[in-house]
Amino acid sequence: MSLLHWAILAPFIMAVFVPFLRKKAASIHTGWFVLILPVVLFSTFLQYFPVTMNNGSVSETAAWIPSLGIDFTAYVDGLSLLFVLLITGIGALVVLYSIFYLSKTKESLHHFYVYLLMFMGAMLGVVLSDNVITLYMFWEFTSISSFLLIAYWYDRDRSRYGALKSMLITVFGGLMMLGGFLVLSIMGNTFSIRELAAQAPELNDHPLFLLAMILVLLGAFTKSAQFPFYIWLPDAMEAPTPVSAYLHSATMVKAGIYLVARFSPIFAFSGYWFWIVGAVGLFTMAWASFNAVKQTDLKGILAFSTVSQLGLIMSLLGIGAASLHFDALDDNIYTAAVIAAVFHLINHATFKGSLFMVVGIIDHETGTRDIRKLGGLMSLMPITFTLSVIGAFSMAGLPPFNGFLSKEMFLLSMIQLMELNLFNVESWALLFPVLAWVGSVFTFIYSMMIVFKVFTGKFQPEKLDKKPHEAPLGMLISPIVLALLVVVFGLFPNLLSYSLIQPAAAAIVPSIIPPGEQLYVNIYFWHGITPELLMTIGVIIVGLLLYKWLPKWMGVYDYFPGKVTLNHFYNASLYAAERGSNSITNAYMTGFIRSYLVYIFAFFIAALGFTMWAKEAFTFDASAAAPINFYEVALVLVLIAATLTILFAKSRLTSIISLGAVGYTVSLFFVIFRAPDLALTQLVIETVSTALFLLCFYHLPKLSRHEERRRFQVGNAIIAAGVGMIVTLIGISAHSSKFFDSINAYYIENTYTKAGGENMVNVILVDFRGFDTLFEIAVLSVAALGIYGLIKLRLEKGGETNENE
């Protein structure tokens, strides 16, 4: 375990202490304690800069399950470091913001920060794991913590709905991804991503290659909310705004981007990768930006905008894959797409993070996020207004902000695609820049909506629950920091060029970089009058016109019928699944324990009988049998008599006593066969269970022999006889066949010498097979708690607590 491992585990460890901090130091907002951690982690990881800037990497391995080849390998290269800094940096800002956003007294802060820390640790684990299995584990941790955070206000229906939706979709993707990882590990015979990447050319020709790729991409697309899986993200906006800013815009949804980037060295040479990632990304970008415009909830707009921007980054990564087919570094124009992807990733985190926080402020100070109720807040909230202008203009791709630079690079990449002579791009080439441009126009429109619908126009105080005013300073710090970054990265993009962007991009396309060299990254404003600049100008003009005439063409959204949307499909299939499983379950869960016993014993007979027949396991060999004595015959007679008494007794009490007699007789058998321990145990168990029976006795209905139909009785008789027969046959066969040497010689030899005991049975129980005993008592305890729960916490009949309603 190295420092790196502890850094990943630190948030989990911290999470353990959060409830105590909340309890013991209730007068201080718990967030202040939590804030320390991301700040410390951020500064810790800064020391890796010198390594990654030269395209170097650090890796530390701790054995986890060595027998399966699963190690906990932490690996830092340019790409991981970029994500780590995003996670810890934005994390620190979000925690700071949440201190002012969440009330110290009203909210259950310990839940919030435990989930948030869990997420932070999981996310660090995802981006720092080299082993696919650990990556998967942390990946699912992010899904779970996201689920918990979305459902943070769990008394709201929409929160629970959104949480479940995100969980179902992302965990579905996660499982697909696990399948992809396993296929990959079968192909490459390793769980290490780096070792897999080293075998990329061989993997490329493997028949399972496409399957692995699609499975891994399903994981990435569900997590990064790509079409058609994006529907969970808008509903995830029910989470508190700091969570939306952190998980659902800056970090977790970028885990899919990370996955695509991380697996690019393995998959990207394939044409399928180029097409799937590029096309899905670009279509998502255009589709989501188109849908964002019709939203009325500010967070809804931002959710669709996030989907759209993630699609943009995804498409750049897909197109960047083309660079692998060109050797020379200098005139390889497609590496620019990879660089643009990394650059836009950073930019998106800054401007979208600040916008989310701005929306949180608006929500917090006015009590609504509905743009139809908001307006004219400019003079009331001047700082918030400035911040939203910076964020939204950057998102729209306007100079001098960082969004302009990466947007230009995006458009350039799409234009250059028309010159590509690979993968049959020619016939479709025009579609790429057109879609990109259309998407950009809608991006421009919704960006303008965020600013102008809220801050200009008519102030409508009568529609607001609160009297709006500027947010407290503490809430403004985080968005101000992010907005400053937007401006600084916009004016001095080359601050990032070789410190963050180059190392990250180099990790995505390592195969085309000769040893010792670097990618060429130079980002600047003025390229002359280029096609992409003209496209941007076109975006602004058309965007402005469309924005102005917005009410006139909003009607087009009505042409999309509600019945064919993906959301409708999701709801309908969920409903059908619930109804279907409900009716199947109801068909056999009768509520009578005797029906269940019939199922169990029928299955018992079928399974064991079939096995005996199929394996021809029945053998009969009486040669080793001991002679039968008078005592045994007598006991068997008693046993039979007692059993028959149970069946034909008139009263239940007689049955119970007879059952006890059966048990006592069996324990006498143990005495005869010289097993005092067993005999003793059997005697006591029989006593206690008879007492238990007598206790339950009162609850049972009155015994009547004639209410049941004959068919029922015959069926039960057959099953009872069957069970008896099978057990007898197995007993005879077990006695007659000896496949292995008996282990008893070992125990006889070692009981005294190794375990210091003389009673072999007891030594086996507590020492040789102590694990068994340990688990048995654990099971017993669980059973006791289960019975306690079933009886004490019984739900009232017809009460409101019934969850199935």
Binding site: A691, H699, G756, G757, V766, G770, I777, L780, A783
Partner: protein, 140 residues
């Protein structure tokens, strides 16, 4: 159902202690003679059940003001703790240690960590049996 069970109650009061002592004897004898934590625990609960039948739930509860669920947890803790304790001495999980000592009164006695583990089993068995019986008995 008011019955006069003076004889039963009087006998139960005395027999109870006999059973308990026998149970404790069984528990300690475990490693060398028939017995052990499981049987000892069962027998102890058997003794309590006897009281339960002779008197009623309330009386027994007054006599044993223990939450048997906690007893179960305590027993589990004992067992897991004994098993895990070996890790402190850098030997594999569940390694037992024992030695023979010359104790006053008892003479040569073996002290064995398996005893501690068995104590856990003993407590769990009492806890589980009594939790179940009490819960079912009280639910009417």
């Amino acid at each position: 159902m008011k019955t006069n069970d003076v004889i039963f109650q009087t006998v139960a009061k005395i027999v109870f202690f006999m059973i308990i002592f026998f149970a404790i004897h069984l528990f300690f004898a475990g490693h060398y003679y028939p017995g052990g934590g499981f049987v000892g625990g069962l027998l102890t609960s058997g003794a309590i059940v006897l009281l339960l039948l002779a008197f009623d739930m309330k009386t027994v509860r007054r006599g044993f003001p223990v939450d048997f669920k906690w007893l179960t947890a305590l027993g589990l803790l004992f067992s897991v703790g004994t098993a895990a304790g070996s890790l402190i001495f850098n030997v594999p999980f569940f390694t037992h240690a024992y030695d023979y000592f010359q104790l006053p009164l008892f003479g040569k006695t073996s002290l064995h960590t398996a005893m501690l583990f068995d104590l856990g089993v003993y407590l769990v068995v009492i806890g589980v049996t009594m939790t179940i019986i009490q819960t079912i008995g009280e639910s009417e």
